[in-house]
Symmetry: C2
Subunit: 129 residues, 2 copies
DNA sequence: AAATGTGTACTACAAGAGTAGTACACTAAT
DNA sequence: ATTAGTGTACTACTCTTGTAGTACACATTT
């Protein structure tokens, strides 16, 4: 599998794994039901301790992104939104605000952000199939 | 001044301060040249150690958001974008991707994100004056 | 030169994060 | 029952983070 990790990235290993899996499920590379590599398999491949992988998997499970069963394996979960509407929206707006603040300090106007997002979404769509 | 801090927030105190100042400069509450409270003043007001404030100010200065002079005080910096275009754009796209991944896991479609951002930008604009 | 207001350096310490080693526990197949 | 595959608990160690205490250094005003 296409996981890779850079120990000197600053970002902790288990975080890098989490990010990759989140992205993969977000863009369809990983679909509900897909089995992930076992903690040992992945640990060997990345030359990392099994617990590090386990930690990533545990956090992903807490977020409801994967489902893991002892002795069986770890799988991408069925998508089910559990949080209530207001909560979701609140979090989403907070995320958007963070983006806008960051954009401002990178020197982008809000309209530019809008445009960039528009383009990006189009890109995602075509690669969607 | 309107700074406030919650020690039990999980987010470290100096980060909370950084965020508030970043936001304030991003939405115009703080403008270039405005003086910030001295480290001591703010430390007393928030019942926190001066070094904690200092750490926040240092990080903000590294980001070019404020300008500080020993014995004088700390001020909001003139906006000057130092990073080259490609770098800025790269970071911005990364931020947008992070937002889209987060949105997906919150159960928002990309079009919904688009719509929310559109609304949000409109809001910012009217409160712009 | 003294006083007062500014930011800072140095030190220390408690708490937590990150990873690894090792041994255990569950499940399915043989 | 055994085996081979899975995830996990426990422990320990290192390194970093976050904050505080204290003392210092610079700038301006008097």
């Amino acid at each position: 599998m296409w996981f890779h990790v850079d120990p000197s990235d600053g970002l902790p290993i288990y975080m890098q794994i989490i990010n990759q899996i989140k992205r993969a499920t977000a863009n369809g590379l990983l679909k509900a039901g897909d089995q992930l590599p076992s903690v040992r398999e992945m640990a060997v491949q990345l030359t990392v301790n099994p617990n590090t992988i386990s930690k990533a998997y545990q956090e992903l499970e807490r977020d409801g992104i994967i489902k893991t069963s002892r002795g069986i394996g770890t799988f991408v979960a069925e998508k089910e939104i559990k949080i209530v509407y207001e909560e979701r929206t609140k979090e989403m707006m907070a995320a958007i605000d963070r983006l806008l603040v960051e954009a401002h300090h990178l020197g982008f106007s809000r309209d530019e952000v809008f445009k960039l997002l528009e383009d990006r979404i189009k890109d995602w769509k075509v690669s969607d199939k």
